[in-house]
């Protein structure tokens, strides 16, 4: 009986801890959102942090990530085009490859890449700030850390995910055109007709919302997890591990929700 009671108490405590961290994450997202919507929250210091975040998250990785996205897009487009041709469905190759790449794969790959590179860095930095007392030191000096350190990271992260998704999507469009029509311009009207069919207003809105949700997740979850780190140095790797696992599930949930919304 005691063993069952202990087991239930432990599971209950773990469940409560999980619920608490998600509640704190949502609370942080709400506070960051309200601060971001307040024009007076922006000053030269916060703008500087936003620009640094965009630089580190999007600009620094742009050449390498664009090259990788181009390679991935090219291979997948070739697979779709040749498979469609072998089934006599060449007319659908362009539409299918665009739906696969621009609507689903590229936003998710971008979010995962940013999560691995910048999300983990943000989680580590915020956890170490918390552990070393840097947040307390800034607050003591009269600096609102939500406004200076955390909200700009969220804004910068969202802009970065959006910009990288847009850049890789445009590249995929160009590669798809080249793969289907070759190096010539007189098929542009046909290409535009297919694109107009695939990317109608609701679809464009859904890509925008999905990318914004990805951008929000890759910054809000690492910051919230970092802020929840107890002030013990050995907790830093545990905080990053937890943050990355939660981030992975959040990204997958957003993707599944988006698929269900579009196709079910």
């Amino acid at each position: 009986m005691a063993a069952i009671s202990n087991f239930l108490a432990r599971r209950g405590a773990a469940l409560l801890a999980t619920w608490r961290i998600w509640r704190d994450t949502l609370r942080f997202a709400g506070r960051a959102g309200v601060t971001a919507a307040t024009p007076s929250a922006y000053n030269s210091a916060t703008r500087g942090v936003v620009m640094k975040q965009i630089y580190f998250t999007a600009w620094q990785i742009l050449p390498g990530f664009t090259l990788f996205a181009a390679l991935l897009s090219f291979v997948l487009i070739q697979i779709v085009v040749s498979t469609a041709a072998s089934f006599g469905l060449s007319d659908y190759a362009l539409e299918v490859s665009m739906r696969l790449l621009v609507l689903e794969l590229l936003p998710l790959v971008t979010a995962l890449f940013v999560a691995l590179r910048s999300g983990s860095a943000i989680n580590t930095e915020v956890a170490l700030m918390k552990i070393h007392g840097e947040i307390e030191a800034l607050e003591d000096a009269g600096v609102d850390t939500l406004r200076l350190e955390f909200m700009p990271r969220v804004i910068g992260g969202m802009i970065s995910v959006l910009a990288l998704t847009a850049a890789t999507s445009v590249l995929a469009l160009v590669l798809a055109y080249l793969a289907v029509y070759g190096i010539q311009l007189w098929s542009l009207p046909d290409f535009n007709r297919v694109m107009g069919k695939v990317f109608d207003a609701p679809v464009l809105l859904s890509i925008l919302l999905k990318s914004l949700a990805f951008g929000l997740a890759v910054t809000v979850i690492p910051v919230a997890e970092g802020l929840a780190t107890p002030r013990k140095l050995f907790m830093a790797p545990i905080s990053v591990l937890r943050g990355m696992v939660r981030l992975f599930f959040a990204l997958m949930l957003i993707e599944v929700a988006s698929l269900a919304f579009k196709y079910l």
Binding site: N43, S44, A45, T46, G48, E125, L128, M129, H132, G133, E134, E136, A137, L138, D140, A141, G142, V143, L148
Partner: protein
């Protein structure tokens, strides 16, 4: 500037004293610098954030304070590369640049372990006298013999 020494009997009294002076800015071993910013940026951050000064103007202010304290050599270093003295001066300037009514230098012996700190502190604070309001040094009673002039 008025410089005052506050003698604390133990840690509980020190904590209670700090809690009772919320208007003060602390220079304390418990409140580190931002590790991913240089000394110059740590100091410039305060006017940049609090008075919306653009970065260059804030950095000029920070540089002039470092010049006065003879620490321009540390301007572009980050926290792990600083000596105790450089770190202390940076923390003091970060507090001073906002011109708070009171600066509390908490346990200077822990901030400057390699120096005979009372005369050093007196010289440094008098160098910054025109930008400081009240400055209180919080030290334990058993360190009183280290302050021969007080």
């Amino acid at each position: 500037m008025s410089l005052d020494l506050k003698w604390m009997a133990d840690e509980a009294e020190r904590r209670a004293f700090i809690a009772a002076t919320p208007e003060s800015i602390l220079v304390s071993p418990d409140l580190p610098l931002r590790a991913n910013l240089s000394v110059l940026d740590n100091i410039a951050l305060i006017p940049q954030y609090r008075t919306n000064l653009d970065y260059n103007a804030a950095a000029d202010q920070a540089w002039s304070l470092l010049l006065r304290t003879g620490q321009t050599g540390a301007a572009f270093k980050r926290d792990p590369d600083l000596s105790h003295e450089e770190r202390f001066v940076t923390k003091l300037l970060r507090a001073a640049i906002g011109q708070p009514p009171v600066i509390l230098v908490d346990r200077p012996g822990m901030l400057l372990p390699d120096l005979h700190y009372p005369p050093y502190l007196e010289a440094l604070l008098s160098e910054l006298a025109d930008i400081l309001n009240d400055c209180w040094i919080l030290d334990y009673t058993w360190n009183a013999p280290l302050y021969p002039n007080r």
